[in-house]
């Protein structure tokens, strides 16, 4: 243990040089911006920077890239809260309560708790990474296809927490998402499904296209309609700052979000998005009065925003201990490390201790920097709401479209986003919640793959899902979680208690 801290001290000596502090600052600012802009995410952000870092000192380059990665996690919540358009996949669930808070004039509090939650979870997770990276890796490797299937099922069961008025509509929305996830070349057979000979559909429909369509485009359509009828009330700017009571209420949500997010982040095939959904679900179930969720409960922002940051740190564990990328972002980082002449893998901390420990120390510094950067920005972001909607929404739409097109240069994606926009408009008009559709798109592919991988390994026997202890627990938890709302109602009926 003492060795860890002396190494960390060495790491700080690497990271605290003026040049590296500047790189961390540059990374934080770029990352926050990329996070705020809907459309471009950490993957494209890092890819854009790779030509810049080539030839840089590896420690400095990685300090900048990780600061940027965490910056996107901080920034992702901003548009979710302010305008109901998620900046990243992992901030979709933040729209549920974050946007409601903004409508009630509490945007400042929501943004502040998102930043504080990110800081708390980031800092705790780095501690976790430093102290428990190796045992956690061993545990993460125990996750095979059957276990991932269980985890994805558990993630999907969080749909019950995302339902608004009707669970059936939430389930329909999720099934629609799952159907979208089947489009493209099927990994297990190599056959193209539902692509209609359109080459652009061979890789499936990306989350980004679905989210921009369902959220941003439909928001614009609704705004147009309501502006004409002057039905939409202007959002009160209200008190900007977070109250002590709100902070205290969020504390345990942040801690639980951190634990859930970090562990899920360590698993190579899972990630920040599923972590954010599960942590939201957990908070809603633990709450004394779950009905406040979806109506501007601050815990509904604190938990997922802590979870996604913790997962981003957790993602670094398999990269740093095994040299295995756990997400598309860390895959790009691995490429960047190799370009810098550092071979990521089990020997990295011996062969490149300056990079390894410098990186860990810089994560602490980056997190602090991001908090200092983001808290004053809260006041600035809130002012965005003062922009008239007829200007604001076209602006958001323009930025989103540039984001979609900039990453893929594909007009097909733009047309798809328009289509999803019309669909999102219909769904909102008829009270179908949007988040379950995104949940289906994000988890569907991985869930199907894991199931089929498990079945290949078991020669077709479904028992593999129940024979392995971790997957058994996860499957049972998902079933309980799906049927529990009905059981509780039935139980109350039986007891003759008043129903809610």
């Amino acid at each position: 243990m003492a060795e860890v801290f002396s190494s960390l001290a060495y790491g700080f000596s690497v990271a605290l040089t003026p040049a590296n502090l500047i790189w961390a600052m540059v990374g934080s600012v770029i990352g926050t911006l990329i996070g705020v802009l809907p459309g471009i995410g950490p993957v494209s952000g890092i890819a854009i920077l790779i030509p810049v870092i080539y030839g840089m000192n590896p420690a400095s380059a990685m300090i900048m890239l990780t600061a940027m990665y965490y910056g996107t996690m901080y920034g992702g919540s901003t548009t979710s809260i302010l305008v109901n358009v998620p900046g990243e996949a992992s901030s979709v669930v933040t729209t549920l309560d974050g946007y409601q808070m903004a409508r009630q004039g509490r945007a400042g509090a929501a943004l502040a708790i998102a930043a504080i939650g990110s800081f708390v979870s980031g800092t705790l997770s780095i501690l976790g990474l430093m102290l428990f990276a190796v045992p956690l890796t061993t545990l993460a490797l125990k996750f095979g296809p059957a276990e991932y299937f269980g985890l994805m099922l558990l993630g999907l069961s969080s749909v019950t927490s995302l339902a608004g008025k009707s669970l059936v509509k939430a389930l329909l929305s999720m099934i629609f998402g799952l159907m979208i996830a089947t489009i493209g070349v099927d990994l297990s057979t190599g056959i193209a499904r539902y692509t209609f000979e359109v080459p652009q559909l061979l890789d499936g429909i990306g989350f980004l296209v679905v989210a921009i369509g369902l959220f941003a485009v439909s928001e614009v359509l609704l705004a147009i309609e309501e502006l004409g009828q002057a039905r939409r009330e202007p959002i009160p700017l209200g008190r900007v700052w977070l109250s002590w009571r709100e902070f205290a209420a969020s504390w345990w949500a942040m801690i639980r979000g951190t634990v859930i997010g970090f562990y899920i982040g360590v698993l190579p095939a899972a990630g920040a998005t599923i972590a954010s959904f599960i942590s939201y679900d957990v908070e809603k179930r633990l709450a004394k009065d779950p009905s406040t969720f979806g109506k501007g409960d601050i815990r509904g922002v604190a938990a997922p925003e802590s979870a996604n940051n913790a997962a981003a740190v957790g993602n670094m564990v398999p990269l740093m201990t095994l040299g295995i990328p756990g997400s598309s972002t860390t895959a790009i980082m691995l490429g960047a490390l190799m370009m810098l002449g550092v071979q990521p893998g089990p020997l990295m901390y011996q062969k490149n201790p300056d990079v390894f420990w410098g990186l860990i120390a810089s994560m602490y510094i980056g997190n602090t920097m991001l908090l200092i950067l983001n808290l004053p920005l809260v006041g600035l972001w809130v002012k965005i709401l003062a922009i008239p909607e007829r200007i604001l929404y076209p602006l958001i739409l323009a930025v989103s479209v540039i984001g979609v097109y900039g990453v893929s240069s594909s007009t097909t994606d733009l047309l798809l986003a328009c289509g999803f926009g019309l669909l999102g408009y219909y769904m909102r008009k008829h009270d179908y919640p949007l988040a379950p559709a995104v949940l289906g798109v994000v988890l569907g592919g991985l869930m199907e793959q894991s199931l089929r991988q498990a079945l290949v390994l078991s020669d077709g026997s479904y028992w593999i899902l129940l024979q392995r202890p971790i997957s058994l627990v996860l499957v049972v938890l998902s079933v309980v979680s799906l049927v529990s709302p009905y059981l509780i109602v039935a139980f109350r009926k039986f007891q003759g208690e008043p129903q809610f």
């Binding site: 993957v43 494209s44 890092i46 890819a47 854009i48 790779i50 030509p51 080539y54 993460a140 490797l141 125990k142 996750f143 095979g144 296809p145 070349v185 099927d186 990994l187 297990s188 057979t189 190599g190 193209a192 080459p199 652009q200 559909l201 061979l202 890789d203 190579p268 095939a269 398999p318 095994l322 040299g323 295995i324 990328p325 756990g326 598309s328 895959a331 790009i332 691995l334 490429g335 190799m338 370009m339 810098l340 002449g341 071979q343 990521p344 893998g345 089990p346 020997l347 990295m348 990453v407 893929s408 240069s409 594909s410 592919g445 991985l446 793959q449 991988q453 290949v456 390994l457 020669d459």
Partner: protein, 335 residues
């Protein structure tokens, strides 16, 4: 009369072209050049395109600036169909490619927009391969299989006991790597128990976690794990032993299984280029691979040296495509 003028003009033009060729200034880019990476940012094709852009610009090997655009989708299918539809004859355009494109073509995923026919390498202008990576067959360090022979014996006895993890779909690279080895050993390749993952990282994690018995990664993906002794290479699918951390890893050929799996990385151009234009790019890329900065960039990416261009490269590609189509048919993935 008209006709005679036409002929003499042609003769003069030909003379000019020949003279110009002799003078060594046959064709040069005269406007900005576009490189297309047919994958998203950060992928292997993206690194090939951006690496070449960097070295060509810095070493001043091209007289015009180069921009890199990502046209992702369908393992190259989207980019190639765009080129066929809109860019025929455009000499200011190069596209990065690798054997992944061979499978896209073999599976009939890239069609000529005009005729609807499946494209082959003869429909585009292959320029050159500029670097390479190799396939490998690996197991965990505590695996009972010490060499390729052991694993193949186990496969012969019971194919279902040898689950193989890979980072690409059934009927694509990692699956075919293993199937190719099995076939070369004279065994039934249709029985391979292949478990596809989303990317090499997840496949490797499943191997390290003991969920699968073997994996078929690219050499460049596993240097770190090999160095740390977490995985054992049963066979490198190159013709000769590789250097560095891989110097102790035997090839499949050494173990009596006569096969290889070459993951070349290179470029192709639009169809309809003149010979001068295609030759310009072949020569330019040939100069590029000799520069120290390209050598360093390639080594840092985990690639090995390889340069092949012109008819030699085209022939190699044709054979590769025929082989892939035949194998996919045998595996029942293609009719």
């Amino acid at each position: 009369m008209q006709r005679r003028v036409g002929l003499s003009t042609l003769a003069v033009l030909l003379g000019v072209v020949i003279l110009a060729g002799a003078a060594g200034a046959a064709w040069q880019p005269d406007k900005p050049i576009e490189f297309i990476a047919p994958s998203g940012p950060g992928g292997g094709w993206d690194r090939t395109a951006r690496g070449a852009q960097k070295v060509l610009t810095e070493e001043k090997l091209v007289p015009q600036p180069i921009v890199v655009n990502n046209v992702a989708g369908g393992s190259g299918a989207v980019a190639i169909s765009q080129v066929m539809a809109k860019r025929k004859g455009d000499a200011h355009l190069l596209l990065a490619m690798s054997p992944a494109l061979t499978f896209t073509l073999a599976l009939g995923r890239a069609k000529d927009p005009a005729t609807g026919k499946n494209l082959t390498f003869r429909d585009i202008t292959p320029i050159a391969a500029v670097a390479t990576d190799y396939g490998a067959i690996v197991v965990r360090k505590d695996s009972p299989y010490r060499g390729l022979k052991d694993l193949l014996e186990a496969y012969r006895a019971n194919p279902a006991a040898v689950s193989v993890a890979g980072g690409s779909a059934v009927g694509s690279q990692d699956h075919v790597k293993f199937a190719k080895v099995v076939k070369a050993a004279g065994l039934d390749a249709t029985k391979v128990k292949y478990v596809p993952f989303q990317g090499g990282g997840e496949a490797l994690a499943s191997l390290l976690g003991g969920h699968t018995v073997a994996a078929a990664p690219d050499i460049s993906e596993i240097a770190g794990q090999v160095e740390a002794g977490q995985i054992r290479i049963l066979a490198v699918l190159s013709d000769q032993r590789l250097g560095g951390v891989f110097k102790d890893a035997p090839t499949a050929k050494e173990q009596g299984v006569n096969t290889n799996y070459i993951l070349w990385r290179g470029f192709y151009a639009a169809p309809g280029l003149t010979k001068e234009q295609a030759d310009y790019w072949r020569e330019t890329l040939g100069k590029m691979v000799k520069t120290p900065s390209w050598k360093k960039l390639a080594a840092d990416s985990g690639w090995f040296e390889l340069f092949t261009a012109g008819e030699e490269f085209s022939k190699f590609l044709d054979e590769d495509l025929t082989f892939a189509s035949t194998l996919l048919k045998e595996l029942g993935l293609l009719k």
